[in-house]
């Protein structure tokens, strides 16, 4: 098995799915000749030609709208928003057309597209390049919303997303694009959309997280074990919507204490829904208020201050200690 970065793993998923299925194609700004500004689509134009690897004008609504049309016609387009911060130019397409076509046509037309976009901070980028606004999509019926945390699950989730009969918003944690490598098997793996994973078992506390912060949460868990003798269970959500609340319940009912960790703004963020589900399904098991360790409700700061915006290991540990001591 090859040791790949997340960029390479996603590239592999695209390449293999395009090889396996003629109806898969890729479109977006700079995804062709340039191979994507993060090189995620590198080499695809050369292998598959410009019919299937389209360098588009700078027009997000047009990109998503065209992809939606192609999908209606039976293609499986994978479109890229250069940064999630620019996907709002296409928000009315996603909300008003992409997410609704199956329902509006009562199943006559479906929209098996994937809308990929790098999200999140930590790479010293400019304004609008570091946001984490998965809530917008998770709150939109008809869309699915997934976020991998490492090369291997990125590849597997993307394969699932491409094969999924419904539109999937696919957030890529750009902080993890090249930060570590993982073995990724050559044969196509999939991961069921809507299922989370326990990535560390524990009995004292549940850390719920996803994306770039899964690594940090795991580090925090190790440190808690070392320093506090506390065994934290870590859940990597993978899917924000559908949210795997059964997996959450199992863990919470075991530990009774929960910390949610995300980069997204705290208020009205994914953590709120997770708390609501825990409230609904595991209320009587909770021994302390659920803690949110999240981005603040401010405009995501420029990079000189962003390390204080994004939850780091010590903030996670602080949150855990609060949950444990409450």
């Amino acid at each position: 098995m090859a040791e790949l970065t997340m960029v390479e793993a996603i590239n592999m998923a695209l390449k293999q799915e395009m090889e396996a299925d003629e109806s898969v194609l890729v479109l977006g700004e700079d995804v062709g000749v340039d191979g994507g500004i993060f090189r995620v689509t590198d080499g695809l134009l050369k292998q598959f030609g410009e019919d299937r690897v389209m360098d588009t004008p700078v027009a997000e609504s047009g990109i998503v709208g065209m992809a939606t049309g192609m999908a209606i016609y039976g293609m499986k387009p994978v479109c890229e928003m250069q940064f999630s911060g620019f996907s709002y130019f296409a928000f009315h397409q996603l909300e008003g057309q992409t997410s609704r076509m199956r329902w509006r046509s009562r199943g006559r037309y479906t929209v098996p597209l994937v809308c990929r976009m790098p999200y999140g901070g930590g790479v010293r980028a400019l304004e609008h390049h570091s946001e984490s606004r998965e809530t917008y999509f998770a709150h939109t019926p008809g869309l699915k919303m997934v976020i991998p945390s490492g090369p291997r699950n990125a590849r597997a989730l993307l394969v699932s997303a491409i094969r999924d009969p419904d539109p999937v918003i696919f957030f890529e944690p750009k902080l993890n694009y090249r930060s570590f490598r993982e073995e990724v098997p050559e044969e196509a793996e999939t991961l069921p959309i809507g299922e989370s994973q326990v990535v560390r078992e524990g009995r004292d506390l549940t850390l719920i997280t996803y994306g770039a912060l899964t690594q940090r949460s795991l580090q925090a868990a190790e440190q808690l074990a070392d320093e506090d003798g506390v065994e934290a269970e870590v859940i990597d959500l993978l899917s924000i919507s559908p949210l795997d609340d059964r997996k959450l319940s199992e863990s919470v009912q075991k530990t009774g204490r929960v910390v949610i960790v995300h980069e997204a703004h705290r208020s009205f963020g994914p953590g709120a829904e997770i708390i609501a589900r825990i409230n609904e399904k595991s209320f009587y098991y909770l021994e302390a208020p659920v803690e949110r360790v999240a981005g603040y409700d401010v405009i995501t700061p420029f990079f000189a201050r962003e390390q204080d915006y994004i939850p780091d290991v010590s903030r996670i540990i602080e949150g855990a200690r609060r949950a444990l001591s409450a």
Partner: protein, 363 residues
């Protein structure tokens, strides 16, 4: 060299074939066989009568808000008739005549207007997208569909309908630009009916025609008399053929007029004069078409009258059928269908909760 007028290549024309009174310019008459002409006329009339009935039913509270076609029948039928069945149609929200031409049953349209989205379902083998309400946002879907046709080498065409108001939206721009950049077989059919709700065409944009907007994309544009079925047909036919041959998209502006309300929630007396409406009444596309058919000896006044009676009967029958269908519809639990291919667990739970609550209420 230094200061000069730029003369970008313009392909921009105006076309009219039948004059205001239905009189023909023989040289420009498109070839349409008698059977097709008669069908065109029949669907125009059916649509007109259906409109009238919907209006009445709406006032009686039997259906909800809808957007009448009255006055735009030639723009719709003249254009859609230039397509083959295998071509695709992407409508906006006012294309009732188009839908009827393509095969949507009246009952479906009634159900839709009565608030049942079952009515929006397009019959199998009819390649139309459902009604799309957010102005201009359906246009990029049409470009995407056409692109897929193109790379599959299928020689099909996608036609997308929109209004004068839609030309102001960003999606209009992105769609036309991308259609030309990717040379897709798309026909952009703009029904300039002079009004976007209360905003007149002149306040919508300061360009003297809508057709000239094509130049911004290096696309051919043509303006036609949209109340002249033959002109609309001729222009569309050309555009469709160009698209089918791989020569790319066209923007067609049909200059027509909305003779009725914007929707049944609208009161046009707030913003336009009866005089203006009267002037356009005189250019009624159906009357012009009938004159042409009579001149061509394809129909007599008596036959027209008979057709009129037939279509009214058809409409009334459709109501009865639809009303019957409605009795079996409206199960609230259906709202959980078709959100996703497979219902995710949280939706199942919500559905079960509603089901249980319905049972409790029924006692």
């Amino acid at each position: 060299m230094p200061r000069k007028k730029l003369k970008p290549k313009l392909q921009l024309e105006y076309l009219s074939v039948l004059d205001d009174k239905g009189k023909l310019d023989k040289d420009l008459e498109p070839k349409i066989d008698g059977k097709t002409l008669k069908r065109m006329h029949r669907v125009m009339l059916l649509c007109r009568r259906f409109d009238e009935h919907l209006l009445k039913w709406q006032r009686q509270g039997r259906v909800g808000t809808f957007a009448p076609v009255k006055g735009q029948e030639a723009s719709q039928i003249g254009s859609v008739a230039a397509l083959k069945d295998e071509d695709w149609v992407v409508p906006s929200f006012r294309e009732t005549a188009v839908a009827l031409w393509r095969g949507t049953p009246l009952t479906g349209l009634i159900l839709y207007n009565a608030g049942y989205n079952e009515g929006g379902q397009i019959p199998e083998n009819q390649n139309d997208l459902p009604i799309s309400i957010p102005v201009a946002s359906q246009m990029c879907q049409a470009v995407g569909i056409a692109y897929a046709m193109k790379i599959r080498r299928e020689k099909k065409v996608t036609m997308v309908y929109f209004g004068d108001g839609a030309t102001s939206e960003g999606d209009f721009h992105e769609s036309l630009n991308m259609a030309q950049v990717f040379n897709t077989p798309t026909v952009f059919l703009c029904q300039n009916n002079h009004w976007a709700i209360s905003v007149p065409r002149e306040q919508q944009t300061a360009s003297s025609t809508l057709a000239q907007k094509a130049l911004a994309y290096g696309m051919p544009g043509i303006q036609v008399d949209g109340n002249d079925l033959l002109a609309v047909y001729a222009a569309t036919q050309e555009a469709v053929e160009r698209a089918r041959k791989g020569e790319g998209p066209t923007l067609i502006e049909c200059v027509t007029y909305r003779l009725s309300v914007h929707t049944t929630a609208d009161d046009p007396s707030k913003y336009r004069s009866d005089d203006e409406v009267e002037t356009w009444m005189e250019r009624d596309p159906i009357i012009r078409m009938q004159q042409y058919l009579k001149d061509k000896k394809l129909l007599t006044e008596k036959q027209i009258k008979k057709i009129d009676e037939e279509v009214v009967e058809e409409v009334n029958k459709a109501w009865d059928e639809a009303a019957e269908q409605m009795e079996d519809l409206g199960d609230p639990l259906d709202m959980f269908d078709h959100v996703y291919a497979d219902m995710p667990p949280y939706l199942k739970e919500q559905r079960d909760a509603l089901k249980q609550s319905m049972e409790v209420r029924r006692g």
